[in-house]
């Protein structure tokens, strides 16, 4: 985000008040820094400037100078004379310069806005009652703030197609489009998939895909968030829920180690959509489409909803007693998870230390798209390093566990949300080894496990993920979990307590963070939970600089350069 902290500042005069703004920013952002809104549609801080909506027209002037001598021309009272530009200029394409004068509230400016609003609404269908954007629509907001208040348009409005399919996830309502071209610029500039364009002329101008193409890239739904009006709608969220019912929670996308900041919206405990949240250090304002689907896992068919002993449903207390009985005094192997939060991984590691267990962890890798879907498809692999659960970089298999099982070095397993069969663990080696499984979704391991303890998805709990750039980011609970399911932290602290009869660890974020801070040599020293809750905190990653991280160069991410010896 543009902040006042930027190095070089220039003085400008904003509505008669002298203020300082960072050098090189445009007037829309400069005014926003000082609490003045310059309404705009086509301008987006993370896209190129198009300047076609004309909503941000303002009056601008610069101190006059003598053309020959270059000296400032002074007024009668000794102040520099301002040469006002005779016509209004657009704020988005005008950068600040020292001594610049700007009027954002003059009569001329207000008149301009009124006129532009009137033109934009000429062919607007006014179907707010059915429009998904209603409630978060710039057209609604600016019409009330800067519009004329009534329509002088008596002619018949244009009728355009209302449900054009642009791609598998995006539906276009042509009548609502104001031709701001944000979506076109986004596709060109961020996913570099130039697929959208305008065809036809005048009031029949239409957004469309190039012939034979579809808006089907993995970032297509960002155009829906970008759209200042209700023209681009998400086929998934379309007509599902009005936005004013939704409660938002700040979350982190668990899809990959990119750690996109997201807003998870729910109503009455039901999740409806995931949208990106602006963080200029991590994901700008974007996120992949695939990450937006993840809320469906909360209500999926394979969700584990109750504790099981030998596949028979039981209470959590019974399952916990049985789990402790199975693990106690054995040579435990613990399979951690890169999907667990930092706090959970720390507690798992505590269990491992106290019971002298062996740690295993598997990485989940796939193709890197070079933007916001990284090769590491788990949100918190670096958390496993930071929490001390593993020192080595995880492989995409658990062959080492398979070997240990074969050599009978491990005779009981605690598995956190991992599928051992998929991780190439020899099924023959698992015979006779009791497995305690903690996880959200059923898989072959949970089907084989002696004790299954259900846990919560990242939408139902809060915690910290460490992303690919070693930013520790906090995610908040969006919805309550299914009845009777304990948070992972409680499960783990009860297991720890049962296995060691040690003093109890209070299963809340604060006490776990205090413990994490007290670990000797931890990179979390001096960082409190409050800091992480406030904003992304960059951790010192020098300790792990020679690990073979799989992520490729991407948006806001540079792989660590290995120094060749």
């Amino acid at each position: 985000m543009i902040s006042k902290k930027n190095s070089k500042v220039v003085p400008i005069v904003l509505d008669g008040k002298e203020v300082e703004v960072p050098e090189g920013i445009n007037l829309v952002d400069a005014a926003a820094l000082h609490g003045k809104e310059i309404p705009h549609y086509c301008y987006h801080p993370q896209l190129s400037v198009a300047g076609n909506c004309r909503m941000c027209l303002i009056e601008m002037g610069t101190p006059m100078r003598n053309r020959e001598t270059g000296e400032a021309i002074l007024d009668d009272d000794g102040s520099p004379k301002i040469g006002w530009v005779p016509k209004p200029v657009i704020g988005c394409a005008t950068n600040v310069s020292p001594g610049m004068h700007v009027k954002t509230e003059s009569e001329k400016v207000l008149g301009c806005r009124e006129g532009i609003m009137e033109f934009l609404l000429v062919n607007h269908p006014l179907d707010c009652p059915i429009c998904d954007q209603a409630g978060e629509c710039r057209l609604q907001e600016f019409a009330t703030d800067y519009g004329r208040g009534y329509s002088r348009f008596v002619e018949r409005k244009n009728v355009k197609p209302k449900r054009t399919r642009l791609g598998p996830r995006v539906t276009l309502d042509d009548e609502r489009c104001i031709l701001c071209s944000r979506c076109i610029r986004f596709c060109q500039e961020v996913p570099k998939d130039d697929v959208l364009g305008f065809v036809d002329r005048g009031s029949f101008s239409t957004l469309t895909c190039f012939p034979g193409r579809e808006l089907d890239n993995n970032y297509s739904l960002n155009t829906v968030d970008l759209c200042p009006v209700g023209a681009l709608t998400s086929s998934d969220f379309r007509f599902k829920m009005r936005v004013w019912f939704l409660k938002d929670a700040d979350s982190i996308c668990p899809e990959s180690s990119a750690g996109c900041n997201t807003t998870v919206s729910s109503r009455e405990g039901e999740l409806y959509r995931i949208t990106p949240r602006r963080n200029d250090l991590v994901n700008d304002s974007w996120m992949p489409d695939s990450g937006r689907e993840l809320y469906k896992s909360v209500k999926s068919d394979d969700r584990i909803l109750s504790s099981h002993i030998e596949q028979n449903p039981c209470t959590t207390d019974e399952a916990m007693v049985e789990a402790i009985r199975l693990l106690k005094g054995k040579n435990i192997g613990i399979v951690g998870s890169c999907k667990s939060s930092l706090e959970e991984q720390f507690l798992v590691n505590q269990i491992s230390k106290k019971t002298k267990a062996k740690n295993y962890i598997r990485g989940h890798f796939a193709e890197d798209d070079g933007i916001l879907l990284s090769a590491d498809r788990t949100p918190n692999l670096r958390g496993a390093l930071v929490s001390g659960f593993t020192q080595k970089y995880p492989k995409d298999n658990l062959l080492s566990l398979s070997q240990s099982l074969g050599k009978k070095q491990v005779d009981a397993l605690l598995v956190i949300d991992e599928d051992l069969d998929a991780a190439q663990v020899d099924a023959a080696n698992l015979d006779g080894v009791p497995i305690v499984f903690i996880g959200t979704q059923a898989n072959t391991t949970s089907n084989r496990a002696s004790v299954v303890l259900p846990s919560l998805t990242s939408f139902e709990k809060s915690g910290t993920f460490v992303n690919r750039s070693f930013y520790a980011q906090f995610f908040r609970q969006a919805v309550p979990g299914p009845a009777g399911i304990l948070p992972d932290l409680s499960l783990l602290s009860r297991l720890l307590n049962g296995l060691t009869e040690d003093e109890e660890i209070i299963p809340d974020q604060n006490s776990v963070w205090k413990l994490m801070n007290s670990v000797r040599g931890s990179v979390l020293k001096g960082i409190s939970l409050t800091d992480v809750k406030k904003e992304a905190v960059l951790l010192d990653s020098s300790k792990w600089s020679d690990l073979p991280f799989v992520e490729a160069k991407a948006l806001h991410f540079e792989p660590i350069q290995k120094v060749e010896a």
Binding site: I130, V159, R163, T206, R242, W244
Partner: protein
């Protein structure tokens, strides 16, 4: 402290002590009413005339073309003070001849009459003039479930009302007469 004052009661006069004048006055009122028009109604056989702006049971209405007017914008659900309204929005499939241009309609629409306080906010807020508190005032049932009016019941209660706008017909006309694309 307020002072307590004891008032002497006036002694009753002779006529007051006989009570006869008072009885006569009472009987006069009784007999005069026997010759006036009845004010009570034999409910439920007789029903009162309901005034024009009466706020009865909320209902959903259709326009004279028998189209449902509600587009499930959920503003009534939002504004309802006792949260009696619950709407499940739904999409109208493309290509229905009688519902051209209509994109959205409620899949389910429930009003819990045990919660409803007949305030009329839903009628006031409705941008499509689809919900009206009409003249029906007596709703009863044997169970709580029965007191939740579903979409079918609401349309049955609402019936068809005259329409000033014919919104969708106008849109169709605009499309046919050259403003289409």
């Amino acid at each position: 402290m307020a002072k307590t004052v004891v008032l002497e009661r006036k002694p009753l006069s002779l006529s007051e002590r006989t009570y006869l004048p008072q009885i006569a006055t009472g009987l006069k009122t009784t007999f005069s009413n026997m010759f006036k028009k009845n004010v009570t109604l034999q409910y439920p056989e007789e029903r009162p005339v309901i005034p024009q702006n009466y706020r009865g049971v909320p209902t959903l209405v259709k326009d004279p073309n028998n189209r449902e007017k509600c587009v499930s914008c959920q503003l009534c659900e939002f504004v309802c003070p006792p949260k009696a309204i619950r709407i499940t929005p739904g999409e109208v499939p493309e290509g229905e001849a009688d519902r051209e241009h209509v994109e959205k309609a409620p899949k389910e629409f429930e009003i819990n009459m045990l919660r409803c306080i007949y305030c009329g906010y839903c009628q006031e807020v409705c941008p499509e003039e689809a919900i009206f508190l009409q003249q029906e005032y007596s709703s009863s049932g044997y169970s709580r479930e029965e007191m939740i009016n579903n979409k079918e019941k609401l349309y049955e209660l609402g019936g068809v009302v005259p329409d000033k706008h014919y919104k969708w017909d106008k849109k169709k006309k605009a499309e046919q007469e050259g403003n289409s694309h």
